[in-house]
Amino acid sequence: MEIKNSAQAGTFESSDILVMVEPVAKGSGRDIDLTSSVYMHYADSINNVIIKVLDKFKIEDVKILAKDKGALDPTIEARVETAIKRALDIQEGTL
């Protein structure tokens, strides 16, 4: 799927992650810019979770800005999914 809008989800609170999704030109690929309070130990793991969600939504071209404050995998997945759905304008049951 093609990202057309910018969107974000999550917070700067501890145990959360703020995820910003931005559209890029077709063929640009995935650009994931991650900062994390646990970067040294978990950068690969967090990146993998983000990629798993992008795969699920079949998104090939996107810029992801992620600012992590020690979120667990289910939180990272939830925030990426929410940001993507908002960017794709497919979220249901919200304002």
């Binding site: 667990l72 995998d73 997945e77 939830a78 999914e81 929410t82 049951g93 304002l95």
Partner: protein, 291 residues
């Protein structure tokens, strides 16, 4: 006899707060209320729904009864909440502002439709009907009796007093009739009634007094807004050593007499029959003792 589920405390956890959700099981509450309704801002409903879904799928909440408070079906969020939560079959969903049998009928029909779509043949998820309006109080006997899936009735004090246009006070006189009517409707259908929150988290004495009062009229427990309130409420609901000793004696005598084919017997000159045995068993269950 099967142990009854303990519902002394049900701790509200805001559905969009990952830190609190992931730690929910460690506070020692009997149940958790993962809240998609009032604790979540209108523009974060989608985020909370997805987060709560993921947490239920992955986090160990230990022995807590896990209940999700969804948004009412009259809001733009209710159906989407059910579509995400029902397939997970948490222990229960809490339905706010239940006012009539028609509300439940609509809810249960959508729940069953989703369960069918996901091939859930033996659903275990129950429904906690939340009474928060004068009309709900009026109809609570029908609500409690409507479906076997409703295994708990709860009272929402803040919304109910707002609906009644009265001020919620510490002595709770304004809720007296509603509380007693809700308990009686629950008891008539052999299900639990759970009391509303005590909003002042710094007033331990007030919490203890209110908990003693609601225990005295028959509530099984209370909703909690802060983990600090849990131990105070448990202290009130936990049986005393004397009560436990008496209950153990009753159950032991009951088992002995049952084997001999005797239904009604006496201890210290007092008749012991089924209701007394049931009460004794409840005390033993709450105390966490196996006989």
């Amino acid at each position: 006899m099967a142990a009854r589920r303990k519902r002394r405390t049900m701790l509200y956890i805001p559905g969009n707060n990952p830190a609190m959700l992931q730690q929910g099981g460690v506070y020692g509450a009997d149940g958790l209320l993962l809240d998609l309704e009032d604790a979540v801002a209108l523009n974060q409903k989608d985020a909370a729904r997805i987060l709560v879904r993921n947490m239920i799928n992955t986090v160990d909440f230990y022995n807590c009864e896990v209940t999700v408070r969804i948004n009412h079906l009259d809001t733009p969020f209710g159906i989407a909440d059910l579509e995400e939560i029902v397939p997970l079959q948490p222990d229960a969903i809490r339905y706010p502002k239940t006012e009539s049998v028609e509300d439940l009928k609509r809810l249960i029909s959508i729940v069953e439709e989703i369960e069918k779509k996901h091939n859930i043949e033996n659903p275990t998820m129950t429904i906690h009907a939340m009474i928060e309006t004068a009309l709900g109080v009026q109809n609570v006997f029908d609500i409690a009796a409507y479906s076997k899936r409703v295994d708990c009735i709860t009272i929402g004090g803040q919304d109910l007093t707002a609906d009644m246009n009265v001020v919620k006070t510490k002595d709770g006189n304004e809720l007296d009739f509603a509380r007693k009517r809700i308990v009686m409707a629950a008891k008539a259908n052999k299900i639990d009634a759970i009391d509303t929150v005590f909003a002042d988290v710094d007033d331990d004495e007030g919490l203890m007094i209110e908990t003693e009062m609601i225990k005295g009229i028959g509530f099984a427990g209370k909703a909690v807004i802060n983990p600090r309130q849990i131990s105070t409420i448990h202290d009130v609901f936990n049986p005393t050593e004397e009560e436990i000793r008496k209950a153990v004696r009753i159950i032991r005598e009951f088992n002995k007499n049952r084997e001999a084919g005797i239904g009604v017997f006496a201890i210290d000159g007092k008749m012991i029959d089924a209701p007394v045995v049931a009460r004794a068993q409840y005390i033993i269950d709450v105390a966490g003792i196996e006989i």
